[in-house]
Symmetry: C2
Subunit: 322 residues, 2 copies
């Protein structure tokens, strides 16, 4: 992982500076919200992927920051609206924006970051980039909506779960990879390979996120353990548990999730079952298959530092603990 | 106004059908919200302006609907978020979406319509169109934010009022006009002239809107008379009244607006002063100057049905009573 760390350490300052400078230009009503969400320690995976694919395909210009950072701002915008609609209290271990700054400031900051991201992508006068970004925004909006719809009427439908994690997470990561390729003037085949890598990486990333929710102590993730369960969110560890359980247990759990009637001790019992059945680990195993698929998409890319880092990034998704 | 009415009657069905068809494709959670706001009787000024400028510059293809309707959807998206943040009860005489469908559905429908509009504009693979749309979205977001910031700390600053109505209304109308020109492959000069027309028309449109708020009975506008005053919004009729009044009156009114302490009888007294001083009519007079500026921008456009309708549209902005 040394190349990955070195690459990130070298490139992150420019990305963070660019994000800060753009946020500084926003109106005072939303500027602090934007700086709070940007400064709350995201991993910057999306802008790094844009940069990595652009460079791996030979892009040498240093004007990549606007499109790379656009992907991060889109992600930030969705977090702001999601946390408000979820009544979330924490984000990355810090108090959620709507509680710190107010609902008006948070909704408008989400709108402003979405608009800014889109405008940053349009600065290149590159119709392909604008199209990719527009589609990524649309798919992410659809994913958010499907996730909230699902949480209102949860089921143990794996196919639906997969569609939701693709929509809410993987499509934007795919978009980040495609944008890097498009910036470098990639062939359609190269852009598709970059997109496939991103899609599979994004699925693995979200699977690991959902596994960590059941496995990681609060101090590492900044979120309470079993938070998804407590919020009534159905994710893969729970689906796997239910697939192994009996019909009666499934129905009573689903009912409890749907009407929010699970008691603290019922939640504890489910968390214990997930631990005993190693369903968090089994979710990681599924993620592992997607990581392998992602790496296979890199076969046609030229060897070099970026290729090494892209492979290590795929592995890192699996091994991260927060 | 006969040409204007005939043109609108002929072209509106295709625009409304397209908007309906796009809304039908949205996820069930937000579809009804989208159909409610789209079906609540907007004037479709933005898509008509796109169409009029495209055709006036010789555009003959019938693929104009996606970009024209994108402008209407952007406008709808901002209405959804604005009404929620304003705690508005009515929109065009109907119950506001967040009260009818809920906050989650309304915020997400706004996000989805914004994303869809952007994606519709990107379908052409025309980098200029994507850029114009991205800038229009950004300017509108900034305008919304400035308006809400202004309402939290109102002042009688005309310059600031003008900047806000340009941001929240006129820029998107400018954008609609520019998009029509860009679709037709206009020269930069032609696009600028179309944009100037739209900017001035948009300013006039908002001035008349603000005048109507003080002058029009609820049954015509679908909004309560003097609603802006009751909500603590400072618009031109009030600025004109204050400019003619004394320092003490100004300060006490501003204070009442800011802390929401105006009583019903104080509001009535202000409404009466606005009526007596004809400040609503004086606001219309200012609008009239912008209408003239807008029409002057049309000088270089070729004669024809579209030019006639664009001129009548400018006049109509002044004469409308709702």
């Amino acid at each position: 992982m040394n190349d990955l760390l070195r690459y990130f350490q070298r490139e992150l300052p420019a990305i963070n500076d660019f994000l800060d400078a753009e946020a500084d230009l926003l109106n005072g009503l939303v500027r602090d919200v934007a700086k709070h969400i940007i400064g709350s320690g995201g991993k910057r995976i999306r802008p790094m992927l844009t940069l990595l694919f652009a460079r791996s395909l030979g892009y040498g210009k240093d004007d990549y920051l606007a499109i790379a950072c656009a992907l991060e701002l889109l992600h930030s915008a969705t977090l702001l609206h999601d946390d408000f609609l979820d009544d979330a209290e924490l984000r990355r271990g810090k108090v959620a924006s709507h509680l710190k700054f107010g609902r008006t400031e948070t909704i408008l900051a989400g709108d402003a970051l979405l608009a800014l991201a889109n405008e940053m992508g349009a600065r290149y006068g590159n119709a392909r980039l604008s199209w990719l970004l527009a589609r990524g925004i649309m798919e992410t909006a659809v994913g958010e909506i499907e996730e909230i719809e699902f949480s209102k009427k949860p089921s143990l439908d794996r196919e639906r779960y997969m569609r939701i994690i693709i929509g809410k997470t993987a499509r934007l990561i795919e978009c980040a990879c495609r944008c890097g390729a498009a910036l470098a003037g990639a062939t359609p085949e190269q852009e598709d390979a970059a997109g496939e890598y991103g899609l599979n990486l994004g699925i693995a990333f979200q699977l690991v996120d959902d596994a960590l929710d059941y496995a990681s102590p609060t101090s590492e993730t900044g979120k309470p353990e079993g938070g998804d369960l407590r919020e009534g969110k159905v994710t893969l560890p729970l689906i796997l548990l239910m697939e192994d359980g009996d019909e009666a247990g499934r129905e009573s759990l689903l009912e409890g999730l749907q009407d929010g009637s699970l008691t603290a001790s019922q939640c504890e019992a489910v968390l214990e079952q997930v631990r005993e059945g190693r369903y968090s680990e089994k979710t990681r195993d599924e993620a592992s298959a997607y990581v392998e698929k992602a790496k296979a998409c890199l076969d046609g890319f030229p060897p070099g530092e970026e290729l090494t880092v892209l492979k290590q990034a795929a592995d890192f998704v699996l091994t991260r603990t927060k």
